[in-house]
Point group: C2
Chain length 337, copies 2
Amino acid sequence: MPGINEVAVLAGVSTATVSRALSGNGHVSAATKSRVKAAAVELGYVVSSNASSLATGRTKNVGVVIPFLNRWFFSSVVEGAEHSLLSHGYDLTLYNLSGNGDERRSVFEHFLLRKRVDAVIAISLELTASEVSSLLDMNKPIVGVGGPLPGVRTLSIDDEQVARLATEHLLSLGHRSIAHIGGNNDVELDFHLPTHRRVGYEAALEAVGIPIDPGLFAAADFTLQGGYRAAKQLLGNPRKRPTAVFAASDEMAIGTILAARDLGLHVPGDVSVIGVDDHELSDFFGLSTVAQFPAEQGRRAVEILMDQLHPDRRAPASNIPLRFELIVRSSTARPGG
Amino acid sequence: MPGINEVAVLAGVSTATVSRALSGNGHVSAATKSRVKAAAVELGYVVSSNASSLATGRTKNVGVVIPFLNRWFFSSVVEGAEHSLLSHGYDLTLYNLSGNGDERRSVFEHFLLRKRVDAVIAISLELTASEVSSLLDMNKPIVGVGGPLPGVRTLSIDDEQVARLATEHLLSLGHRSIAHIGGNNDVELDFHLPTHRRVGYEAALEAVGIPIDPGLFAAADFTLQGGYRAAKQLLGNPRKRPTAVFAASDEMAIGTILAARDLGLHVPGDVSVIGVDDHELSDFFGLSTVAQFPAEQGRRAVEILMDQLHPDRRAPASNIPLRFELIVRSSTARPGG
DNA sequence: CTGAAAGCGCTAACAT
DNA sequence: ATGTTAGCGCTTTCAG
């Protein structure tokens, strides 16, 4: 593994020039630059990121902290971030903070702070004030995805509006008895996302004068199984069966469709179902939903960090609110249709 | 951010001693060791991994290369590896090699080789001979998960045996007309996994004298949708409908269950279905399957690397073949039952 | 058991 | 435009 020295020798210049030619910092004549590059290629030279980091204080690496990896939303955000990071010449190191407090503290103290990363992306994770400030004190920008973090630039969809949109879709079809499957306390996650969605749902109903019926709410854990169980409950009672269900996640909505089927109900004939996410399975199940775009969210988070890390580069307009979009498939229709 | 110097001063020793006390290399009297540790804690000192790596040549970081992240198998392996790595004091940096050849080469040349990692875990990815040897040349151990890599220690279940086991389960229930949904060329992935499973399926049939009927094979892409479509095909023809289906992945098996349902067939009454994986949704669908344990595979991969990275440490018996296990749920039963 | 000092491989002033 | 020269913060001989 050749060092910067052999390159310098082969190109007949100093190591400083090699460094400049290869990094693009400082001026180097076109001629020498190409000579250096040729030499580097010939030798198969590649900089030692450690030496470089030590000298510059920058690591070209960002840390991503995340509570789970094997869920559609999280892994999609990470994928988006990874792609974008790669294209900026950055690496991504992953910290799975699912563990309890101990593991979590250890990650913060021994890993993130080891000067391994230039910045961190926190996905659906509520960092404590002290965690945030210790990072900020070290001059490491943070951006959150999926929920507000005190004192941190955060990307997240407007959950209340998303829920409103879904509910309004149902209302516009003529539904008046609309149930909601939301989150239980366990899933309140760190950001009260379930509450926001419930609030949006209720707001949409109230806006058209429909009273909130607590009997039309059920809590679940955002999974397909959970949604199935909750829907059985909601749809099983023929006396007060709603004509439509708004589930706070697509997985729960799919569970609802399956539950309806098992109850002998037809979707959307007997009951309309809408979710939130545009999960990879939603298209298959014909589920109407309000899509969000996690990979794009990951990408956007990276853009924001790059702007902070390289204040010189022209910041692309970066305050567009996060996109969401109603996707109507075959699980929603006029009641009694 | 205090450096090793301030710790040395506060503890009244030299930086060399601090280094030894904190890293555990070399002898330090118990007394000074604890004094140093106290000082380090008091100052909130944490080593600079870059400086340390530069000096030692070790990074305490392993690279994981992977073709996708948002699939159950991959993200589970990564989760398992991450946990294990963390407990060994290692970080994990993630490289998503889904892209085409260009992006892939760039990862290899500019990232992995940048001396960022001490080792690499390749998940279901066929590295080229030159990729492998360039890593090995730099003395970076590699371990593969999910398929054999030339010249590399690899972890993977015995796909042929897995398929045989699944098929034998069906046979033992009395099925004689057993269809198989395997992979198409796109999914041949890098490792001919679909072929191995098909071979195992055929071997099981032949062992009991059942001729292979090409009409009972269908190819799909390992997804739920793909399985659904293939199953519609296989089960839709009443003249030669099999009494059981062995799908090469749980997602396809679930698609098969849904297809059967839509065809008005009862599972397992009219058709038994078995898959491979024990996917997170399988339990919900009552799917019988041959489970594999991806998180454990990730963990095991890390153990193997640690053995190579720290040859001194007592290697835990490490040649247990990868575990798989038949899980019988409600999707399989005697034919006509 | 502990200290002094020489790097690890690069970058960034500072010169020229 | 290019070369010289100090470090970046730690580890590790080599002495003692």
